[in-house]
């Protein structure tokens, strides 16, 4: 344990020992005073508990004996007398010596400690029950992994589980992390609405889990709730099921095994020969939920077997990429038509049509997910290309560099991977050329002679994070500042944070390198990288520590073709904002807007958030609504709002490009067709924000000059 904590404990123990001495002396004067007894006990308890935490094992074990005796004193089983106080004071002195001096040098010390310890044990002995082994929360150890087995778990939480601060959903999530898992919620015990206690838990769950983590790991998930909740864990397959398909279980047998029905009932119903599940439900012997859950179990095991069989026969086919692109295009069209269908159905209020529209909506969503999923490729396919580039370039530059990749299995839409190639090549070239120092320089700086470039990809929410980091010299703040001033981008005397300063390297024509190499330094590149990433609806972020290295993080949406977005209205027109940048929407009334004297600031729960006045920005002049909405999101790490007239709701956006004519329009990243056939523009939030910031700078600069 950390030395810092040990020191803190010593300070604390010194105080506690003083307090213990005082309390003991007071107790001697009044041996029955509960307050003094309580104080002595508490101090001992803390000395022991904290001592054990920070590795003072001997102190803890001696104090434990003393504490046990005082617990008995507290319980009125032992009376305090002068002998006990003497003995305790002696123990106290021992503890002090253990903590604050080299007591080991004193040959008598060991004996004395042992004697004191023994005396306390002797006092407590007649009252001791057999020790109960303590069980703490021990995280499932990784070594316990064995063969994958399939378990059936019925988790019936105590009704008050929520009021105990446990969230059953978190437990289910934890189970899910253990392995492949099917969960069926049993809702038959939910009472009618008027009897329903909102913070009681009325649901229970049947879980089929295949995991190699073992029973202990599963039990650990429920460790905090297993005393009050009803938890049954049965092993249903030890992992050999896939090998002998004849052991596949039938529905009736599963229900029987779970104790949901009896053998006689089963046999009787079986004799009638219908679908067993239906028959049992019709007879009122089990609820539909229970049957459903048993069916899930069969499915789960069947799938396991199928997977096993599939592994033996080849299961992939090659398809030309254009066919997939065509498929996604078609799905895009379908999503648009589906939106129209839903709209028409709602408009005409035809119930039959509404049912169909809902069905189509569900199928379309599934079709969309499946076809987008087909186009997903592991990003590792590009990573391997970079290994070669780094090898060749570092040889050329005479530098020693290795490439480390992480998360190569992260999947990303195929078109995005293709588009990501050039920016990544550029960033890696930059790292090799500017970032990593020659070996001699690295050794002088106390770094390993070999430089490292790390390429890492990971999923985060509905986006993918790609990081390129090097352990090189980092960005040169001063050089960037000087260059920024020279280029007239920033005023000479202003202070800038790294966050404000570093993005300057994305400005077109910006370079701090005096010599131009074959690889980089011409000042074209970073701006192109930024543009490319922007065009992919992504964002780029830069962190750098001088002397330690630079990390560039690129955040990309999972797919480009169809995104979840928020549909809003300003005046007569509709716009969409990518949903992954939206946090919340709040209302704001006209007066509040006017109150801020032209400053675009909204007050949300006490904090002030700047917003972009889209109506002003787009010079929309028709009548102002009484209540506006501010859509608050995070753009380039900055919290910012966008003022609109009305928020309509979530929308499946099939992205269409705007066409060559509108290439100059940077405020929009594309367009989409709405259910009624009208076009909504997709807002480019970063560009809108950047424009606002530029305008803000100019106007504040103008006010300084005037």
């Amino acid at each position: 344990m950390n030395d810092l904590h040990r020191t803190a404990y010593l300070d604390e123990a010194a105080e506690l020992l003083v307090e213990l001495e005082q309390a003991l002396l007071q107790l001697e004067g009044d041996p029955t005073d509960q307050e003094y007894i309580g104080r002595v006990f508490r101090v001992l308890h803390t000395i022991k508990g904290s001592g054990a935490m920070f590795g003072f094992v001997r102190v803890a074990s001696l104090t434990h004996g003393v504490e046990t005796v005082y617990d008995l004193v507290r319980g009125g089983k032992i009376a305090v007398d002068k002998d006990l106080v003497d003995l305790t004071l002696a123990a106290r002195d021992c503890i002090r010596l253990m903590l604050f001096s080299d007591a080991e040098e004193d040959p008598h010390f060991e004996q004395r400690t042992a004697r004191i310890s023994a005396s306390f044990l002797q006092i407590a002995e007649p009252f001791q029950a057999a020790p109960v082994p303590g069980q703490g929360y021990v995280p499932a150890s990784q070594e316990m992994k064995g063969k994958a087995a399939t378990w059936r778990i019925r988790f019936k939480p105590a009704t008050n589980i929520l009021r105990q601060g446990s969230d059953p959903l978190l437990l289910l999530e934890e189970l899910r992390e253990l392995g492949e898992c099917r969960i069926v919620a049993q809702t038959c015990t939910i009472p009618p609405l008027d009897e329903l206690e909102p913070d009681d838990c009325h649901i229970f769950w049947d879980i089929i889990l295949t995991t190699d983590a073992g029973l202990d790991a599963i039990r650990d998930v429920f460790i905090f709730v297993d005393d009050t909740s009803d938890i049954r864990i049965d092993l249903i397959d030890e992992g050999d099921l896939a090998d002998n398909p004849e052991t596949r279980r039938k529905l009736g047998e599963i229900l029987l095994e779970r104790g949901d029905i009896s053998r006689e009932d089963l046999d009787r119903v079986l004799a009638e020969r219908k679908y067993i599940g239906q028959m049992l439900v019709a007879e009122g012997l089990v609820t539909p939920d229970k049957v459903l859950s048993a069916v899930e179990e069969i499915e789960h095991l069947r799938e396991k077997t199928r997977l096993h069989e599939a592994r033996e026969t080849t299961s992939s086919i090659r398809v030309p990429a254009e066919k997939l692109d065509r498929l996604v295009d078609l799905v895009g069209e379908l999503v648009t038509v589906q939106a129209r269908l839903t709209r028409t159905a709602v408009h005409h209020q035809i119930n039959d049509l509404l049912t169909i529209a809902e069905e189509v909506e569900r199928l379309t969503a599934e079709l969309r997910d499946t076809s987008l999923d087909i186009r997903m490729l592991p990003i590792g396919t590009t990573f391997s290309k970079f290994r070669r580039i780094i090898r060749d370039l570092s040889q050329e530059m005479g530098k020693d560099i290795r490439l480390v990749t992480e998360g190569a299995e992260t999947e990303l839409d195929k078109t995005l991977i293709e588009k990501l190639n050039d920016p990544l090549v550029h960033l890696i070239r930059n790292s090799i050329d500017h970032g990593i120092e020659p070996s001699a320089e690295r050794i002088a700086a106390g770094k390993p002679p070999r430089g490292t470039i790390t390429l890492a990809a990971s999923h985060s929410g509905d986006s993918v994070l790609v990081r390129i980091s090097d352990d090189g010299r980092g960005l040169d703040r001063d050089a960037i500042h000087a260059k920024g001033v020279a280029a007239g981008i920033i005023p000479p005397n202003a202070e800038f944070s790294d966050r404000q300063l570093f993005p300057l390297i994305f400005t077109p024509g910006f370079t701090t390198t005096s010599e131009i190499t074959d690889i980089s330094g011409r000042g074209v590149g970073m701006d192109v990288v930024k543009k490319t990433i922007d065009a992919m609806q992504g964002s780029i972020d830069l962190q750098s520590d001088k002397g330690k290295g630079t990390t560039i993080s690129i955040r990309l949406p999972l797919t480009l073709a169809i995104i979840e977005s928020l549909l809003v209205r300003i005046g007569e027109s509709h716009y969409v904002l990518p949903l992954n940048s939206v946090d919340e929407c709040v209302e704001i009334i006209n007066e509040e807007i006017a109150d801020c004297r032209g400053k675009h600031i909204a007050t949300v729960r006490g904090s002030q958030i700047p917003y972009v006045h889209l109506r002003e920005r787009f010079t929309i002049v028709d009548e102002l609504p009484e209540i506006h909405q501010v859509v608050i999101g995070r753009v380039n790490g900055m919290q910012v709002g966008f003022l609109v007239d009305d928020v309509i709701g979530e929308h499946q956006t099939v992205i269409k490009s705007l066409g060559k004519m509108y290439r100059q329009v940077s405020s929009f990243s594309g367009a989409t067709i709405l259910g009624d056939g009208t076009v909504a523009l997709i807002l480019n939030l970063e560009e809108l924000l950047a424009h606002e910031l530029r305008a803000g700078c100019e106007s504040s600069a103008a006010s300084i000059e005037s």
Partner: protein, 121 residues
């Protein structure tokens, strides 16, 4: 996601260790020196989890747990009590009062983080 966790303990070294461990894991930590102090800090502010010792002067852990559970803001907040292995009875009492789980002292920082992850995800 940054979580706010309150540590209630009369032992300053334990508070320091809990604070150190949780802060390093990126959480925000509020310290309270005993049950009374802890209860006073239940002023409606956002608290995602509470880790409390049981033996404390002024107000002990069990009473604090009851106090937390009776507070409309913190009814569902996970509460983890720090116990020693000899305190099985206390553990039951704590659970009856509304505690979510427990950690047995002595514990390692990893165990603390594992429990935080377990109840907060």
């Amino acid at each position: 996601m940054i979580r706010t966790i309150m540590t209630v303990d009369d032992s300053s070294s334990i508070r320091q260790m809990v604070n150190f461990t949780l802060s390093h894991a990126g959480h925000q930590v509020i310290e309270a020196v005993d049950g009374k102090d802890g209860a006073a800090k239940l002023d409606g502010r956002k608290i995602d989890m509470i880790i409390t010792d049981l033996h404390m002067p002024n107000m002990d852990g069990i009473r604090l747990i009851r106090e937390i559970r009776s507070h409309e803001h913190y009814r569902y907040v996970p509460i983890i009590m720090l116990t020693t292995e000899s305190q099985d009875e206390k553990k039951l009492e704590g659970k009856a009062a509304g505690a979510t789980g427990w950690i047995v002292k002595p514990f390692q920082p990893d165990q603390l983080l594992a429990v935080v992850k377990k109840v907060l995800r």
